[in-house]
């Protein structure tokens, strides 16, 4: 019930995503000095997570970098788009860190959720969720917590948090607003050729 309400909330109060602002500029050397790879393609350091190529890094305010990295991997496993980089998924879950900074109960809910996911991974013989190699196995782990409020909060948040990003529209071939360009009337509204 709770989870459904959460979702309805995301429906009526979509958060606008301005994630880029919180992406810190960081050099690769600095990054490697301050960090450790933890499985997956993510690097965590104190107070930040980053892509393994150091093309982006995200400061984490309230959650531990490990927790944040787990949320990023969860986001990818929930809606796996192989053509999209981790920074898009990081931007999609960033709001949870912001909310956790203001709401300690929320923070605990996220941390407990990640703990239970890692516990399930250990039972399966893996060091952690992030260290679980195949998507199919991680999906199995997610399935085991699917009805929990934690999972539904993350998934529900992604519907808007992920798919309302301009970068995602570009990747999926959606051009959006056309009014400023005079509409699609002279820009291909009827240009289909293959039929």
């Amino acid at each position: 019930m709770k989870a459904e309400n959460e979702q309805a909330l995301h429906f009526t109060k979509p958060q606008s995503q301005t994630p880029q602002s919180s992406f810190a500029k960081i050099t690769r050397r600095e990054l490697l000095k301050r960090s450790a790879a933890i499985g997956g393609s993510l690097i965590v350091g104190s107070g930040f997570i980053a892509g393994s190529t150091a093309s982006w890094a995200l400061e984490v305010k309230s959650l531990s970098p490990d927790t944040m990295a787990t949320l990023v991997q969860m986001a990818r496993d929930i809606y796996p788009h192989d053509s999209m980089g981790d920074e898009i998924y990081a931007a999609a879950v960033k709001a949870h860190d912001d909310k956790a900074a203001e709401d300690s109960e929320y923070k605990t809910m996220l941390e407990t959720g990640v703990d239970s996911l890692n516990a399930a991974a250990k039972q399966m013989g893996h060091a952690s969720y992030l260290a679980t190699g195949w998507e199919a196995e991680r999906t199995e782990l997610l399935k085991s917590i699917e009805s929990d409020g934690f999972f539904q909060t993350i998934r529900g948040g992604l519907v808007v948090g992920l798919y309302n990003q301009k970068a995602v529209w570009d990747a999926l071939g959606y051009e959006g607003s056309s009014y400023e360009k005079g509409g699609y009337l002279n820009r291909g509204f009827d240009d289909i050729k293959w039929l």
Binding site: A8, P14, T139, Y163, S178, Y184, L185, I192, L195
Partner: protein, 522 residues
């Protein structure tokens, strides 16, 4: 006296809501010189303010006030507090609507006679016939500038339409075209022509699409006989000692409760809020709510049988370019019980952007199958399936335990599909998928109903007072100066999108109210 009017002026007609029904009625009465106060819960947004971005537009325009749901319909699970997609603004849902403007068919006004008794269905014939409405349909089509009527050319077909048309030809459908749309295919009536922006659901920034927000309302105001009060949420309709309506209590923009006196009141808040207002207006004289001697207030809630089919192809379609509802197939709208159900359905192209697709394609779904469908977005075509659903007494708007800020109980919307609805949806999915398969779809996605856009029937018309709430003119059987002026009046739903009929009924009701006033019957 000219607008604005005094709250104690009991000569005015008060209209609640300014959408398809209320906005049209307000304009028509004002043109006749009748003084009208229209109370609208939302604010005023005009084409320059509309946002061509799905979520921000939704936040700007949609009614997101608290509601609860129950029943076995999937919307109750996925969108528990958003049973319907309705606009709260001057112009009502005509700001969001796609513009499809179809007449109901003759036999649909005689549903009980045509379909016969159906177990679980509360079928009834309308107290009006198509023949009686035809002259008013003519007026409505002219007013709204419906394409393919009055010599107005059809809109050009976009990519999404072309895929539909190719499939329709393959399946042997005969009646497929770019629709009868209240969208200008050429400049008309001081409004521009469609530039194929692709955001009809977000408010037409060109003003090419008819909407009471910028068509009827400003024209009514220009007569000096119409005052529209924005941010005015009606809480209660009140009556005098004789049981005649004497005014309505509303919460004004500053949060104060105000009573506007009235000679007559017309309710047009759409089919969830309208019955809620009547139920919330219960008094010692009318303990079950106003106009409810039949017990039918809030009952027989219909939302049309709906569903969508999206399909992915090997190459791009880019369905989002151009009009949202760009074409229609009407072949399945006939009544033909050999298909396993009564009534019929329309197939209409539909496109939604990535943000809404993520929310609506398969609510709650996740994983690679869902993501792969989203990956196909650029190569997708889509259609909406909309048909007649069965009125059922148990599908109802009732007062919930929950209250809104002003302390009034919110509406609970209960809905279960009738077996006829299910059979029709299955048939429609099969036909939609077959259509796309016939032109080379690599995947098809039968998509569940969205929150209801067509809300109907909760204050229905009936010949006999015991069967419904209002007569054939939308006048309450119980209280002569209380009218219903929106889609709640529908006795049955028909297969067609309802707005043209709502507008038609409002034009006809305006004549009737004017006549009753001049005869001093109200």
């Amino acid at each position: 006296m000219t607008a604005p009017f005094d709250v104690n002026d009991n000569s005015v007609v008060v209209i609640i809501g300014t959408g398809a029904g209320g906005g049209t009625l307000a304009h028509e009465l004002a043109l006749k010189g009748i003084d009208v106060v229209a109370l609208e819960a939302g604010g005023r947004h005009l084409p320059q303010d509309y946002i061509n971005d799905e979520w921000p537009s939704f936040s700007q325009l949609a009614l997101t006030d608290m509601r609860t749901t129950s029943g076995s319909w999937r919307v109750a699970k996925d969108f528990a507090n958003l049973p319907a997609w309705i606009v709260k603004a001057v112009g009502g849902s005509t700001v969001h609507w796609a513009g499809a403007s179809l007449r109901l068919q003759d036999h649909e006004f005689r549903a009980l006679s045509t379909y016969g008794e159906l177990e679980g269905a509360n079928l009834l014939d309308w107290p009006v016939t198509l023949a009686e409405l035809e002259p008013y349909y003519d007026k409505a089509e002219k007013k709204m500038g419906v394409t393919r009527t009055n010599g107005i050319p059809g809109l050009p077909g976009n990519n999404n339409f072309k895929v539909m048309k190719a499939g329709a030809d393959k399946l042997g459908y005969k009646d497929c075209h770019t629709g009868r749309m209240a969208i200008n295919s050429e400049p008309r009536d001081d409004r521009a022509s469609c530039q194929q922006l692709g955001f009809c659901f977000q408010g037409c920034k060109m003003g090419a699409k008819w909407s009471t927000a910028y068509s009827e309302i400003p024209r009514g105001e220009a007569t000096g006989h119409l005052e529209v009060r924005e941010h005015s949420l009606v809480l209660k309709i009140e009556h005098d000692a004789d049981g005649k309506i004497d005014g309505v209590v509303y919460q004004d923009k500053d949060g104060n409760q105000v009573k506007q006196m009235a000679r007559a009141v017309c309710v047009a808040g759409n089919s969830i809020e309208s019955p809620r207002m009547l139920l919330n207006s219960a008094s010692s004289m009318f303990p079950d709510g106003l106009a409810n001697s039949s017990g039918q207030v809030g009952k027989n809630y219909m939302r049309h049988m709906t569903g969508s089919v999206y399909a992915a192809f090997e190459q791009p379609v880019r369905m989002y370019r151009g009009t949202t509802m760009a074409g229609i197939i009407t072949d399945e709208a006939r009544h033909d019980p050999s298909r396993g159900f009564v009534g019929g359905y329309e197939m209409e192209t539909l496109s939604i952007g990535i943000p809404f697709m993520a929310a609506f394609l398969n609510p709650g779904a996740w994983g690679r199958e869902f993501a792969s469908a989203m990956d196909n977005y650029e190569n997708m075509a889509g259609m909406w399936l909309v048909g007649e659903d069965m009125p059922q007494e148990s599908n109802a708007i009732t007062l919930s335990e929950e209250k809104d800020q002003s302390g009034m109980p919110v509406a609970n919307v209960h809905f279960d599909d009738h077996p006829n609805d299910v059979a029709m949806r299955d048939h429609a999915y099969q036909q939609g998928m077959a259509l796309y398969d016939s032109v080379g779809a690599t995947q098809t996605y039968p998509t569940p109903p969205y929150p209801s856009t067509h809300n109907l029937g909760t204050l229905r018309m009936s010949e006999k007072p015991g069967d419904g709430v209002v007569n054939g003119f939308g006048q309450s059987h119980d209280i002569s100066n209380l009218f219903v002026s929106d889609g709640s009046q529908f006795t049955t739903g028909g297969a067609e999108n309802p707005t043209l009929t709502i507008v038609t009924l409002a034009i006809r009701q305006a004549d009737y109210i004017a006549q009753q006033m001049s005869e001093k019957s109200i």
